[in-house]
């Protein structure tokens, strides 16, 4: 029994060390996930990604427990046509800041396992080409810019 405990603690130590070792230098801020009606099985995650290093970085995938599949997407506008396209990778050059926002780059959450609740926090891990990862925690929100959705609307009383 004691041995097992010891082995486990050693394993845990190395796991934590490995995670710390693999941590990416990117800075992720202003993260949120779009709240969608329960009938909708897809949603999207948005954030600001900053590469503070002197080297370019490549975001190659993202993962999360809340959805069956997680993909990197971009919305391309050609004339009047908006088309959402899966991206194999998204490059962020040295010292660049990239906005993931509606109508542009986003991390698509496909096949939500459970309907999203407002203010729920969603864990997402970003994977980079150099093998590093960045864990991010995002809050489920109704819409960008803190604008109120239908259910949040404040009623004004006139007397």
């Amino acid at each position: 029994m004691l041995n097992l405990k010891k082995i486990l603690s050693v394993l845990l130590f190395w796991t934590v060390a490995a995670v710390a070792w693999a941590g990416s230098a990117v800075e992720v801020t202003d993260g949120w996930v779009r709240w969608v009606p329960p009938v909708s099985e897809n949603s999207a995650a948005y954030f600001t990604l900053h590469n503070p290093t002197d080297k370019p970085l490549e975001l190659v995938s993202a993962s999360s427990d809340v959805a069956r599949a997680v993909e990197l997407h971009n919305v391309i506008k050609t004339g009047d046509l908006m088309s959402m396209q899966k991206q194999e990778k998204i490059g962020i050059s040295a010292h660049q800041t990239l906005q993931f926002q509606p109508g542009s780059y986003h991390v698509m959450l496909i096949g939500l396992k459970k309907p999203l609740e407002e203010n729920q926090s969603v864990s997402l891990t970003l994977h980079f080409a150099d093998g590093t990862t960045a864990p991010v925690s995002l809050t489920v929100r109704k819409d960008a810019g803190g604008k109120s959705g239908a259910d949040e609307h404040q009623h004004h009383h006139h007397h």
Binding site: V39, E71, V75, S83, K86, G103, I110, K147
Partner: protein
Amino acid sequence: MIARWLACGGMVALLGWPLLLVAKELPVNTRLGGDFQLQSTVAAQDQLSDFKGRLVLLNFGYTSCPDVCPMVLSRMTQVMNALEEDSKETRARVQPLFVTFDPARDTVERLQAYLQHFGKDFIGMTGTPEQVADVAKRFGVVYLPQKSDSAAGTLFAHSDYIYLLDDQGRVRALFGSKDPIDEMVDAVESLLDE
């Protein structure tokens, strides 16, 4: 004194201009639009002409769309909420309407469950693929199923305008996703004042 009068006159001219411009900017679009009948989330209101006497904010999309369509719908919500800040009656004079171009997935039931979260007064419409294609064509809406290796299944490349229709169902303005909410509200209010 003269300078002051000039300044005042200048102010009047400046204030007068936008009003004139707004009125002139919303001519009837004769190329787009026309009456149509589809399956509706409100059975008694399944035809565009059922909304005569009220303005309509019309948008085309599909509920499996996770980025562009909910963004456009929440813009409609913001406009409707801004109108309600004036009064409930003002809001009631404008009908938000969503027409799907993905009838294979978007049933009336699904539209109802989806749209109620954007506003209780939102109405959704669907139909046969041919009916939907006909309506889309009349409003100049383009939607193309995309070849994609996404796990999301069929995704559409599509236009994302919000159409402002007057109380006769005529197209008066198109709004793109970059147009400020305030401008949309102003346009709606200028039609309400007509």
